[in-house]
Symmetry: C2
Subunit: 131 residues, 2 copies
DNA sequence: ACCCAGGTTGACGCATGCGTAACCGTAACG
DNA sequence: CGTTACGGTTACGCATGCGTCAACCTGGGT
């Protein structure tokens, strides 16, 4: 049953994260495993959320941003449209940031490459002199 | 005289950094202003170094990396070739990292764009239903 | 004499995302 | 019955690059 709840270790193996990470996410209210005494049982919902969390991180969202997005997501398609629009906007903002980052990175790469080329030239000349 | 030493404020204005930043760089041994009693006098050399520091930051080097690069730079073309080669290698490594970052970023951008497009579709459908 | 601007030295704070002890409880295994 | 093994909690540490007080000193102008 893929529906069965999972222990912390099973979660760690399934998603390649540490127990510390899962507990941390729980503390930050990103996950809500069922607490059976001391133990945690991660539900299907937790797994879905964790998947989104890891994706969100890849996009460069902060955990706090992700938490808000997940909350909106939970309100679901039934929730007020305004919130969906908010999530959409947040994602677009982030997208714009990522593009800006990429452009700056590309420019920096070019600049660094130029410098390296220049340095390589000088190194060659020196080698010739040394020879 | 562009050779004249500069006060901390003049440096701040010239490079758009805060006094805190300059003192921080001095503490980290990236800059070596002349200490006249309590005051600092930033020399031409300090200005050249700061320029390189700010460029280095743009390339994503850590201040510690930059410090090492500057030290090598100070050894100058007279210093042992090995060190120049080291600096060159360090820069190439960083360049490779930057390219990898850019590729990952580009991939993430595509993924996020797809998601947004998908979401936009769903939002449209909902709007139609709501209408 | 007095005051103010601007510089100086600590030293703690912040933001992020966990890592890493240190210590405790419990259940299973041999 | 002792020993792992796994899970739990608390809490400090880390890395980066400064921001932000707090409190003091110093030179110059009035």
């Amino acid at each position: 049953m893929t529906d069965a709840n999972m222990t912390i270790r099973e979660m760690c193996d399934a998603f390649e994260v540490s127990p510390r990470t899962l507990r941390f996410y729980e503390a930050k209210e990103l996950l809500f495993p069922i607490r059976e005494g001391q133990k945690r049982w991660f539900t299907k919902r937790d797994r879905a959320r964790l998947k989104l969390i890891l994706e969100g991180k890849r996009f460069g969202f902060s955990l706090e941003d992700i938490r808000q997005l997940l909350d909106l997501y939970d309100q679901g398609p039934n929730g007020p449209e305004i919130q969906l629009a908010q999530a959409y906007e947040l994602a677009q903002k982030r997208l714009a940031e990522m593009k800006a980052e990429r452009d700056e990175l590309t420019a920096a790469i070019s600049a660094l490459q130029e410098r390296l080329a220049w340095a390589a030239e000088r190194l060659e000349k020196r080698d010739q002199n040394a020879a």
